[in-house]
């Protein structure tokens, strides 16, 4: 059976963008810092709109920030 997994590189992009803090990113995309923490820990799957806003803040595409892997068991 397939087991889809969503990875993200938000932390790496934050550091690459003048070491942006979690609070700064949260303010710019319109969520709380706890949501950014949950995103980076892989404990929360963002909505499509939020994923696009995050990618736009870093100036990259959604696929650069979020990777969807479909593993076959």
């Amino acid at each position: 059976m397939n087991k889809p997994k969503l990875n993200n590189t938000i932390r790496r992009f934050r550091f690459d963008n003048n070491e942006m803090t979690q609070q700064e990113l949260a303010n710019r995309v319109g969520v709380t810092r706890q949501t950014i923490i949950a995103l980076e820990a892989g404990k929360y799957v963002p909505s499509l709109a939020l994923a696009f806003r995050i990618a736009r803040v870093f100036g990259v595409t959604v696929e650069d920030v979020f990777q969807y892997k479909n593993k076959i068991r």
């Binding site: 997994k5 969503l6 969520v31 706890q34 949501t35 949950a38 404990k43 929360y44 963002p46």
Partner: protein
Amino acid sequence: MNRHEKIAWFNLAMFGLSVIVYFILFAFLSPKFPLKISLMVSSSAFSLCALMAFAPFLFRKNGTIIDEREVEETLFFFPDLDERDLTIQRKARFHGFGFFWGIYVLMLMGTWMWLRYFNPYGAAKYSVNITVDIDLLPLLVVGGFLIIILAHSISTIIQYRTEKNSDQLKEDRMSSSRSFVVFCLMFFTVLLVINSLLMTKAGFAAGALMLMMSSGIIQFIIWMMYKNPGRNFDKGDLLILKIAGWIVSIIFLVSYMTACIGTWVMYRDYSAGAVIIVPISLLSFGALIMFFTVFPFMKMYRRSGTDE
């Protein structure tokens, strides 16, 4: 700690305080007053739960709005909900009302079954009216409200505290899983057994009627799971569902025929009107259930095979 988690803890604390005050009051009152009066007066302790209404104001966050684009379901005193908080609150609300409905139905049906068929103070026949104290009605409303708030609070805390790693993408809609299927089948098997017991206690016509209705509901649920299988369903799971569907369909048909015959036997000594009207009503009701539940599912099972 998240603000909403604080509100959830506050609600649980108020309920816990109410329970403690209830037992203290009862301990003081019960030696002096009759049991019923002591219980009624002690239950006034639950008025402390009204303090839950002040929780959003106590933990208010200066009215700052995180992002107006996300303010779709915010109330005027919840300005800091982002999409994750909204998702959690939505799920908590679902859990609250779902739990309330399950408990509420079980309470009402259980009370009815107990008083009607297993009344320890004497056998209740159909001609005996059992009345409910009208003062119970507001208590039901208050009790239901408390159940919703408690389930909502517990769900909020659990979701914030124990978020598991999202190894698997979670969908908003509820999808079946193997454990859910097993739980449903076990739960409704118990329901069928209880209905069978009713057959011996209240006469086989009434029990057969209840068996017919419950098997119709079970058949509907099996159909829903068959049409919307979970991600981890395989052919074996679908085969189990198919077999269960056939068994439940047979139970339905047998109980339907039994209910019709039993009702005719019960009413044959009454007026001609009763002999005609009651079986016809039963026939129509059963035919309706069959038309919308059993026959379409049997047709689908035959057509689909095990390659779904």
